[in-house]
């Protein structure tokens, strides 16, 4: 189950569908808004998504992980909107009988999600400037070249 959420992510609700007596391992990844990136002080982040395509591509990634790693369950949710430091931006949880598959699948899902989903991140810096990550083409005071 992959979703884009405009509202804060609630951990108990995210975990609930993963309960499974056959599962011996749950591995989760949480992406948090951190206070720095590439040496600049970050004050907040905006995430924007092309929702129908992000959700379809997200479901494809989960299906790939299920087929490849023999998972029991897989859930991923990505926030959109304006997030503060420490906020939960993305959550991935996978269950499997054994931990090796759960670790590998969780890593696969977040790596593919970061590379493939049409979700964009705008950083707001302490300096007052902003930048869409990976979208700058000419260095300048408000659009310095950045890689996320």
């Amino acid at each position: 189950m992959f979703r884009i959420s405009p509202t804060p992510l609630e951990l108990p609700a995210l975990r609930a569908p993963l309960a499974d007596a056959r599962a011996g391992a749950l591995v989760t990844f949480e992406g948090w808004v951190r206070d720095h990136n590439e040496g600049q002080a970050v004050q907040s982040l905006e995430y924007e998504a092309y929702v129908p395509l992000a959700e379809a591509e997200g479901e494809r990634i989960l299906a790939e992980a299920r087929a490849r790693f023999g998972l029991l369950g897989a859930v991923a949710v990505h926030r959109v909107g304006h997030l503060a430091l420490g906020d939960l931006a993305v959550w991935v949880g996978v269950t499997a009988a054994h931990r090796a598959a759960a670790f590998e699948a969780c890593r696969y899902i977040i790596d593919e999600a970061k590379a493939r989903l049409p979700i964009w991140k705008k950083e707001h810096y302490a300096s007052g400037t902003t930048a869409w990550i990976n979208c700058a083409t000419r260095p300048g005071p408000a659009t310095a070249e950045r890689r996320g």
Binding site: Y50, L53, A56, R116, W120, W132, I133, N134, C135, G148
Partner: protein, 80 residues
């Protein structure tokens, strides 16, 4: 001529100043359409850094456009 709907996100939305528009154009592929829009609106992203989606699915830069299509240009994603 194709009558298309275009949606913009992130940097493209900000540079266009709006999130959606309708357009009648001779552009027959996403690549041609992006070149036309880039010239008109001054998009800073070169065409080779922008992917296209047609009607909610990723599409090749030289895929055919048809009247009624919804076209979205995908700026580079955040990655890392």
């Amino acid at each position: 001529m194709n009558e298309l709907t275009i949606e913009y996100f992130a940097l493209l939305r900000e540079q266009r100043g709006q999130a959606t528009e309708r357009l009648v154009t001779a552009a027959a592929t996403p690549a041609a359409l992006y070149a036309e829009l880039q010239a008109r609106h001054g998009f800073t992203l070169p065409g080779d850094r922008v992917r296209a989606a047609i009607n909610g699915a990723f599409a090749a830069a030289d895929a055919p456009l048809r009247s009624g299509d919804l076209v979205v240009f995908i700026p580079p994603v955040a990655g890392g």
